[in-house]
Amino acid sequence: MWLFFIKGKKMSVEDAADLASFFDTDEHAVVAVIESVNVSGVFDNDYIDALDVSGTVPMFTCAATDLYAIVPAVGRGTTAVINSVSYIIENIKNDGTGVAILILSEA
C-alpha cells in the first residue's frame, strides 16, 4: 500500500503531506489519545479466532513522525484511548517508510 519495490529496494513514495492526507480525521482516520496527546491515525479491529476463541486485533496506524514528535515517550505499555476504549500499546512496528503500526491490547 505504501511502497514501491524497485530492483529489490523498498522506497517510500509519500512525503509528510501525503501521510497527513492518509491520516486525516475528515477521511478514515480517528484520534487516539496517547499520554493526553491527540494523534491521528487509522484504527482497525478485525475479527480473529485464536485458540478457538473469538476475538479482535486492535491496531492503530499513524505517521511515525507525528507519533514520536508529539509523544516522545511512547512505547510498550503506554495507554492509548481510541473511541472511548483504553488500550495498552504492546508493540510498535515502524515500516521504514514513515508509518508506525501500534499493536494494541485492551486494558
Binding site: 480473529i48 485458540l51 478457538d52 473469538s54 479482535t56 486485533v57 491490547s105 485492551e106
Partner: protein, 145 residues
C-alpha cells in the same frame, strides 16, 4: 434407548455446567469458536473395549472425554486455568459414577495437556485440555442397555 456413551456425555455436561468460574458458558461438541469466556467445551473421544470381549453378557468400555477450558485475560492466564481445572476435577471426581451407578464403573483422571497461550487478540487467550476416562458397561447385544 440411547447408547450409554450418550447418557454419560449428558451426565458429564450437567456436572461441569454451573461451576463458579465458567458458569453456564459450557457447550458440547462445539465446531465454532467460543465467544464468551471463561468457558468450557466438552468433547467425546475414543470409546475403546480395552479388555476385548471375554464375557458373553456384557461389554466393558473406556470412554475418553476432553474438557477444554478457555480464558481471555491480561492477568496471569495459567492461574485462571488452574482455577477452572480444580473445579472441573472436583465436579467429575466427587461422584465417580457421574450419577449413573448402574452404568458407570469408575472415572479416571488422565492428566491435562500443556496450557496454551495466544497474544494475537485484544487480550491474552489461554486454553487447556483436561482429560478423563470413564469406564462403563453395557449389554453385549445392546449398547443402550
Amino acid at each position: 434407548m440411547t447408547h450409554r456413551a450418550e447418557d454419560i456425555m449428558v451426565a458429564v455436561l450437567a456436572k461441569v455446567t454451573g461451576l463458579v468460574v465458567t458458569g453456564t458458558n459450557v457447550s458440547r461438541g462445539r465446531s465454532q469458536p467460543v465467544e464468551t469466556v471463561p468457558a468450557l467445551t466438552l468433547e467425546q473421544g475414543e470409546d475403546l473395549i480395552p479388555d476385548g470381549i471375554n464375557n458373553l453378557a456384557v461389554v466393558d468400555r473406556a470412554l475418553s472425554i476432553r474438557v477444554i477450558a478457555y480464558v481471555k485475560s491480561n492477568a496471569q492466564f495459567d492461574t485462571a486455568l488452574n482455577l477452572i481445572r480444580e473445579e472441573v476435577y472436583a465436579a467429575l471426581m466427587s461422584d465417580r459414577t457421574q450419577g449413573l451407578p448402574n452404568i458407570v464403573l469408575d472415572t479416571y483422571p488422565m492428566g491435562d495437556d500443556d496450557p496454551e497461550l495466544s497474544g494475537d487478540a485484544e487480550k491474552n487467550i489461554g486454553r487447556q485440555v483436561i482429560n478423563f476416562e470413564i469406564h462403563y458397561r453395557h449389554s453385549l447385544t445392546n449398547a443402550g442397555a
